[in-house]
Amino acid sequence: MNLIALRTAYRNISQFHENTRLIAWLSGQAWVIWLTPERRKSVLFCGAIIAGAVGVFSRNAKWRDYRALTPWLEHGLAFLILLGFLFALYRAAVGFKQLPTIVRHRPQICFHLIFWLLLALLWFFAASEGFVIAVLSVILLSFPYLIWRAGYMLLSGQRGKAQNSRFRDHLFYIWPIWDGTNTPPGKGHDYLSRTMAQTPDSYARTILGGLKLLFLVALWKIVLELIGVLIYGDPKSPLSALFHDYTFGLPRVKQILGRQLALPLVQVWFSLYLELVWETLSLAAKGHVWVGVIRLFGFNIFRNTYKPLLAQTVVEFWNRYYYYFKELMMESFFLPIYARYFRNSPMLRLVAAVFAAAFVGNMYYHLLQHKEQLVAGDWHRLWSLLGARLIYCALLAAGIAISMLRQQRERSRLPSAQAGSARSKLRSLRRIACVWTFFAVINFWNVVAPLTISERARLFFTLFGL
């Protein structure tokens, strides 16, 4: 078999989701025909109600707590209040034009203010305990999960696209059955409606696209297991008995930081780069599960992670690494700031919008992620968890802003070397290496470790021999 035949065989296998005979066969299956868009939405709606209820009951308590009646009442009431609150938000999105001017101008801020007011109420009355405080705690613990998703519903209202939608059209992404992250993969109703397969043929294509991602998940999991056992020497790996004698034994960055290990600089740098690869593969595996499952329901949405390690600019990496988080930051922070401020100063306008998204938005999102500490008002713990992240986000925002400004400047320039030439390939490789280095280095500030900022800074400077 020659190289061309091998390449064709590889293409046929890897691109099986575009195989017309397979698509024709699948689109003729009775269940694919039966699962019309409307029926799929009904399945998702029922799933969302069940998953939402299970989520409220299970996320904030252990099942053994339910031997008494009170937790049932607390969580049941919290569930109904949350559902009612979401319905009120839906009505606000549908009748967006009738809302007071201040809400129409800043719907997201008003929505988040409600959360903070409730939180302040809880902190104020926390000492009194009792049934109402317990219900409020459950509501507030569920809020960070719903707040970004419901934000997309308000955005839809703000853009005048929610009028003809039904509550059930929104509920299935607000209370999704496919993931547990606070970031909404698939964004909101507007994007999901646009990408929903309408015919058996397009549904079959979307299902195959989803299956491809689920196969990739299995592949990335195997690669991660191999890295875990061969390079990190992970004793918990199921492969550790097999490769016990062949491990490189490189520590993870969190171990280097946590134990303040004194390693040769080459090993530390190798560990930093490998951490980037590891995290990218882990995120790709998780994201492919979310997007793969969403595609099985007929939404032909973008991948969450798409070859970020081949990105040639910082902004391209950010776009490809965690697409739905980037979109959330873009739509919730970047675009509102860009639309509103510094319209007469293009550079300042861009930089302000980037810092709003990559620094303020990013920090705020992660603050809400630590919901237990937030509800408990444990600021000391929050600072220890997020202090170093301030520097990570500042560096990330600076990197993205510089990358965007450079890209804007370079856009109109003709490429200096022909695409595909050795010089051009070398330049691409150099750019990829720079992007890897940037993210590997800033990730140093993102890894959770029991260190103060000054201790971390001291270790950071040793990376450069200082």
């Binding site: 101008h105 955005l155 739509e331 675009l335 639309a339 509103r340 804007q408 003709l414």
Partner: protein
């Protein structure tokens, strides 16, 4: 005689030519297909389209916000211009 929409379309296409990617090879801009997806512009250039719409057509994004969907293709941008000029 040129209609308002045709004139806007011509001006928009002339503007897109000034911000298109240097390596974009197509001679004709498809008015229906996505500007970023087709490779005509990168996602950053969308921000320049926002500025263009603000300066040329006085489109005010302050209240309605910027909807990336409105900037997806030549036709969707023309629809936005038409909506804004009648509102």
């Amino acid at each position: 005689m040129m209609t308002e929409r045709e004139r806007s379309r011509q001006e928009l296409i002339d503007f897109l030519r000034t911000i298109q990617r240097a390596d974009y090879a197509q001679a004709v801009i498809d008015e229906e297909s996505g500007l970023v997806e087709s490779g005509l512009i990168d996602s950053l250039a969308l921000l320049q389209i926002v500025t263009y719409l603000e300066q040329t057509y006085d489109v005010d994004f302050t209240e309605r916000g910027i909807d990336p969907e409105d900037l997806r293709s030549v036709n969707s941008i023309l629809d936005l211009i038409a909506r804004e000029s009648t509102s």
